[in-house]
Symmetry: C4
Subunit: 274 residues, 4 copies
C-alpha cells in the first residue's frame, strides 16, 4: 500500500468541527507533513504497550489499532505502522496528521483505516486516544435493534448511549472499511459526543480523555457486551435494570480516577512479550 | 485517597445488629484504632492466597477484594491495601475496624468499598470472611427479575435464596459504589442471613464461616451463574429443577466438610505467582 | 472419613443384575476384601493419566473421579484415593470391591461416591470404565425437560438416549450425593444399558468398554452439551437435526476404532504435570 | 486401515466436473499413483504449519485435516498422514491423487476422509486448499434451519451463502463420515461454487485460493458462528443486519490482500510447538 504524500501541514490549524469537505491537503502536494514536535520516548512505549495489552485482553486480534493524540500538537497523532497489534513495539509507532498522512513514513506500511483516528481527533477536542477493534462480543450489537446499555459500573461510559454507524447508509455497498477521510468523518458524526460507536458488520471504536481511558473503555465494552447477552437470555423478554445516564456519569468519574490500577495490572500481563 | 483518621476503637464493642446510625468513630478523632491483637503470620499468607486464587479463578479482575475477620478480635478484619487482587502478598494485608478504619495505615491506600466488609462483619456474627467481586456471569442476575437458584450441589448455599441489593432504592442515583458505612449497612440488610447478595449494576458479595468457604462460594456463584444461563436457554420457558432449600442445606453441609480439597488445589494454582 | 472395614470378599461372585438388596458384605465383617490379583503397573499409570486428562480437559475440577474395572477380576475396580483429579498419580490408585470397600486401605481416604462405580460395574458386565463428573455444560441438561441428543458424530453414543437420574424420586431430599450402595444401585438402574446418565442437580456419569472410551465419552458429552445449547439458541424453537439412533450406532463404532488418536494427544497434554 | 493400492495415475487428466461415476482408478490396479513432481520443501513446512495453526486456534482438535493442491500438478494434493493435527510436521505430509490414493504410502496410515479433499479439488479448479474441521461453534449451524450469514467483514466470504450437506439425503443412515469418493463427490456438489459447506451432524469444510486463505476462512467461520449465536440472542426474533452479497464480495477481496498479517501472527503462535 503506497503512502499518500502531500503538502506540509506544519501550519494546519486544529479544527474541531466534523469534516464537511475534503481537506486541502488531500488535493495536492508532494512532501509529508511536518512533525508536531519531539515526544518523550516513554510515550511511544505507552502506545505500544496499549497495543499489546489490547491483544492480550482479546480486544484486538491480527487487526485493529490504538492511537494517541500528540501530547503537544493536537493536529498530530501517534499510531503503529501496519502490524499485528500483539507485535507492536515503540519503534513501530509513527506520527500522522489528522488526514492520516505520515510525517516520516520511511517507506513503512500504514493502516488503511487510519482515517478513523484522524477524523475523530479532528471532531473531538476532548479525545486523547482512540481504539478501533473487532472485539467479538461487541460486533453483534452493531447488527441488531437492541441498543447496548451499561450493565455495571465499570462500563458506566456506555450509559450515555451507544450509537451505531452503518456505512451503507451514506456509502451504499462497500468493503465495510473506513478507508477514506469521508468515511472517517461520517463515522465521527455517528460517534457524536459519545464514548463508543458501533460499526455495523465490522467492529467498534472507543475513545477517551487519555490512552489508559480509551484502552479501559475498549476492554470494558467487550466485557459489557458479554454481560448484556447473558442478561438478555435471563430476562426472557422482561426488563434489564441497566445503569441510568446519571448513574453512568457518576460512576464513570470514579472509574477515571482509579484507572491506574487495572492499567498497571495489564502492563504486567505484557511484560516479557513483544 | 487520604485515610480517614479517627479515635481509637480499642474498646469498641462488637455489635451484631445492622447499623442504624453513624458509629461514634466517624464523628471525631485523630488516632487510628488499636489492633485487635497479634496474628499468626500464616493468616496473612492465607488471606493473600485467597486474593490471588480469586484472581486466577476469574472471580476478581483488577477490582474486588476478599477479607477475613480477625481470628481473636471479632471487631477487626483483615484486608489488602488498595491493590489489584492478583498482586496481593502477605505484606499488603492491613487490619481494619468495623467502620473501615485502618489500625496501622502507614500511608497506604485503602479500598473505597471496605465498608462492605465492616458492615457485614457487624451484622453477621457467623461470618468469618467476605468476598466482593464483579465476577462476570453473576452481574446479569442483579439486573433481571429471574432469581438466582442453585443448579447443583456445589452451589447448594444458593438454594436458600439470593437477594438483590439495588443501591438506587435507598440512595437514588449514585456512582454505584458502597463507599460509606450507610451504604454498607443497607447492603448488609439486603444480605440478611443469606450467603450471597447480588448488587444491581455492580457485582456481588459472598460470605462464609471461614476464608475457604467464602472463596469457595464466590467461585461457585460464578459457576452457578453460567449454569443457570445455560439452563434458561435449554428450558425454553419450561421448569428448571433447581435444588430445593432442604436439598441445599443438606448439600452445603457436605461441601463445608470437603472444602479443603479444592482449597489445596487452588493454592497450587497460585504457587509461583505473586 | 474412616474406612468401612468388612469381611473378605475373595470369593464374592460377580453379579451383573442391579442390586436388589444390601450385599452381605455390608452387614458384618472386619477384614478388607482380598485383591483381585496382581496388575501390570502400567495399568495404574493409565488410570492416573485418565484422571489428569479429564482435569486438563475441564471435565473434572477439584471433584469427580474415573475408575477402571480390574483387568482380570471383574468384581474389583481401580480408583484413586480421595484426591483432586489433577493431582492423581499411579501410587494413588486403590483397588475396591463392588461394594466400594478398599482391598488395601492403608488408612487412605476414599471417595464418598465410590458406590457409583461399584454399582455400575455390578449392573453392567460390558462396562470397563466409569467417569463421574460435574462437567459444567452437562449439568443444565439434568434440570430441564429438553433431552440431550447427539449433535455430531463424535458424540454418537448419545443418540441412543440419555436418561436423567433424579435422586429425589426415590430418596426424597438428600445431600444430592450417591453415598450408599442403595443410591448407587438406583443410579445404575437409571443408566440402564446407555452410555451416559445425567444426575439432576449434580453432574453425570459416562461409561465405556475401555478406559479410553469412558474418558472420550465424558469429554465428548461436555462438548455435545455446549453444541446443543448453541443449536437451541439458533433453532429458535424449530427442529434440530440430531443424529438418529441408527446413525449413532454406526458412527460410535468408528469412534471406538480411532480412539487412540485423541488418547495419545491427551496424554501429551498431561506430560510434565502431576 | 490398509491403503488401497491402484493403477498408476501419472497420466490421469485433471477433471473439474463433479464426479458422476467411479473413477477408473478405483476399479483395478496394483501400483500407487505417480508423484506430480518435486516440491520445494518449504511447501511441506507450510502445510504442516497450517495444521498446527488450526489446532492452536481451536478449529481442529484430535480430528480434522488441511490439504493443499500440488503447486505444479493440479491432479495431486498434499495432506498429512493420519495424525492429530497438533502433531503434524513436514515429514508427515503425503501426496495423494484426486481419488485419495497415496503416491508413496510407505505403509503410513491415511485419513479416512481424504475423499473430501480429492473430490473438491476435482470439482473446483479455483481451489488451492481445503480445511475439514469439527470446529465447535459451526456444528450447530448444520442442524438448524437458520442459515449462516456474514456477521462482519472478516467473514465476508460467507455472504454469498453457506450450503448444508446432509449425508442422509443421498446415503440414508451412515456413520456420518465422507469415507468414499461417492460421498466426497456429493459433498462437492453441495459446496458448489461457495467457500464453505456445513455438514449435518459432523462439521464443515472451508476452501480457498491459497493455503492461507483456506486457513483464514476456517478460523473466521468459527468466529462468525459465535457472533451469529450472540446476534440471535440479542435480536430476539428481530432482524440481523448481516453483510449483503455485494458487501461480502467487496470485503473478501480486501481480506485476501491482507491475509499475510494474521498468517504471520499465527505462525508465531506455533513456533516452538511440534
Amino acid at each position: 500500500m503506497p503512502l499518500i504524500r502531500c503538502a506540509c501541514h506544519a501550519g494546519f490549524s486544529y479544527w474541531t468541527g466534523a469534516a464537511a469537505g475534503p481537506p486541502d491537503a488531500l488535493r495536492s502536494g508532494s512532501e509529508p507533513p511536518a512533525s508536531g514536535g519531539p515526544i518523550d520516548p516513554s510515550i511511544f512505549e505507552e502506545v505500544a504497550s496499549a497495543s499489546r495489552i489490547l491483544a492480550v485482553q482479546g480486544v484486538l486480534d491480527a487487526f485493529g489499532h490504538v492511537s494517541m493524540r500528540h501530547p503537544t500538537a493536537p493536529d498530530r497523532f501517534l499510531m503503529s505502522r501496519s502490524l499485528a497489534p500483539a507485535l507492536v513495539t515503540a519503534g513501530d509507532i509513527m506520527e500522522f496528521n489528522l488526514d492520516g498522512e505520515a510525517c516520516d513514513p520511511q517507506g513503512r506500511g500504514v493502516f488503511l483505516e487510519r482515517f478513523i483516528h484522524g477524523a475523530i481527533y479532528r471532531a473531538r477536542a476532548d479525545v486523547a486516544s482512540v481504539v478501533h477493534s473487532h472485539s467479538p462480543s461487541v460486533i453483534p450489537f452493531g447488527l441488531v435493534e437492541t441498543p447496548m446499555r451499561a450493565m455495571y459500573h465499570n462500563a458506566a461510559f456506555l450509559a450515555e448511549g451507544v450509537p451505531v454507524f452503518d456505512i451503507a447508509e451514506e456509502f451504499g455497498a462497500t468493503d465495510m472499511l473506513v478507508g477514506s477521510w469521508q468515511k472517517g468523518a461520517a463515522l465521527a458524526r455517528s460517534l457524536g459526543d459519545k464514548s463508543v460507536v458501533l460499526m455495523r458488520g465490522h467492529g467498534s471504536v472507543a475513545v477517551g480523555p487519555s490512552l489508559e481511558a480509551a484502552v479501559f473503555r475498549a476492554i470494558m465494552t467487550e466485557t459489557n457486551a458479554k454481560l448484556q447477552s447473558q442478561a438478555t437470555i435471563l430476562s426472557q423478554g422482561g426488563p434489564i435494570a441497566a445503569l441510568s445516564p446519571e448513574e453512568g456519569r457518576l460512576a464513570d468519574a470514579v472509574n477515571l480516577r482509579v484507572i491506574q490500577r487495572p492499567w498497571e495490572l495489564w502492563k504486567r500481563s505484557i511484560s516479557g512479550r513483544s
